[in-house]
Symmetry: C2
Subunit: 245 residues, 2 copies
DNA sequence: TTTTGAATGTGTAAAATGCACACTTAATAA
DNA sequence: TTATTAAGTGTGCATTTTACACATTCAAAA
């Protein structure tokens, strides 16, 4: 049996830090997959690189981790720099570390995905000129391993949306059933039955139906709803309720 | 509208690397939550630290990322150093980056979880003297944020086991239905009905029942099964089959 | 030789959930 | 007044999930 005193073991398990301290430090980046819902379509926010390598190509927005912040804060900062928004749903996705993922230099990147309600934020367009919202169905090819990041983010969003009430992060405070259904159809990339969808949502009993209608979309108008977050959280805590679509 | 030429924007988005290259490099660690199934119980492999800080306390096994490997490889290496095994199920879990998570120095840690079939690997005990298998129900308190890592790993394992056939990674090649059920009961931390469980498993149609019995556990003996991985993968590809328990 | 004990193995009925499906209503514009 | 357009609403069938109990095997003990 080996012991932790063996040199090889010590090295592999990183037990004498002096050896590693300088040598093996790396640059840690944060990249954000930013989803938005606008004009009844799921969108993704991308930026055109104006620096090498891969200048002129589209990429996710990213930045480097600084000494005085953790990764969540770095993601917040990067997102705020690009959108001006600072109260946004952000979730860590995965860490990418292939040695040659960035041909410029060795960089490890922690991917986050963000959900933004595009319609209600009058964030004067986008803070950065080179950024653009793409329909999720026809986003361009991206640099490095960013395509892979987006693929994984879409899968995660799909799963989350089915089991947590995060869809509302993408909608304005007041929304119609049809908007909610369109959102789910975009996320799941399939048509849903109107009656079954509404029955399901109503059975969850976490929305409040307002007396107000959105008249912009049809003659009849569509009732507006809001998500009752407190009620949802109370149900989770007290009844072990779990959101499932 | 800002442009990517603004200095502040450039800095936040990490667009001129020279500035960051040295200053903001960090030490990247890998920590492994190692699950095993032994004597019909779910276990976790921990190590007693014999170096500062927190010397003498229990912790996950870990190591530092080296220049010439990616994170998956680092996790493999750390795991092999500890167990001598090199063909183990490993999955990246989450990256932890709180500024003071390691009081010794700023370290970012990428957590992985591993699934090991303890019984059939005669890995001469464990390679490191200070390591020990704990029943998942009475594992000791761990250093740093390792408790949080284990909590998250348990949740991930629970979800994965319900939707992917990874449970078999924890069992010997040949196993009884009762063993499989015990495994799922440990992972889900609840009792399951014997008949319903067997019916469910059989309906998946991915196991092969052998003519052989395990006579060690009862007078009557229990039939042995093996997981037919090829059949499973074929079903997934051809019929869009998805494993669900 | 018989009895006992301990774990295996097997099926059905009721309840809950998922899924397909079509007509009426409200409001405005012509 | 009528035509138009999207909203809103309920039922029956199929599938899945859940609850539930007794007979079988074989070794060891009596």
């Amino acid at each position: 049996m080996k012991t932790v005193e063996d040199l090889e073991v010590k090295e592999n398990l990183g037990m004498h830090l002096n050896y590693y301290q300088k040598e093996d430090q790396v640059l840690l980046a944060v990249d954000c997959i930013i989803f938005g819902f606008e004009k009844e379509r799921l969108k993704i926010l991308l930026i055109k690189r104006n620096f090498e390598p891969e200048k002129g190509k589209w990429s996710l927005i990213g930045g480097f981790l600084k000494k005085n912040e953790d990764l969540d804060q770095a993601a917040d900062r990067v997102l705020e720099t690009l959108t001006g928004l600072n109260d946004v749903y952000l979730e860590q996705l995965h860490t990418y570390s292939k040695i040659d993922r960035d041909p410029g230099q060795r960089t490890i990147s922690v991917a986050y995905f963000a959900l933004i309600d595009v319609d209600s934020h009058r964030f004067d367009g986008i803070q950065i000129d080179a950024a653009h919202w793409f329909d999720i169905k026809d986003a361009p090819d991206l640099i490095f391993d960013h395509n892979e990041m987006v693929r994984k983010a879409k899968a995660r969003l799909r799963r989350r949306a089915l089991t947590k009430p995060i869809g509302f992060e993408l909608l304005p405070e007041k929304f119609t059933m049809r908007q909610l259904q369109n959102l789910y159809e975009s996320i799941l990339d399939k048509k849903l039955d109107k009656r079954n969808f509404i029955n399901k949502i109503n059975s969850l009993d976490i929305l409040v139906k307002l007396d107000e209608k959105d008249m912009s979309v049809s003659r009849k108008g569509a009732y507006l709803y809001i998500f009752d977050k407190e009620k949802y959280e109370k149900k989770v805590q007290e009844d072990g309720f779990s959101f499932k679509i």
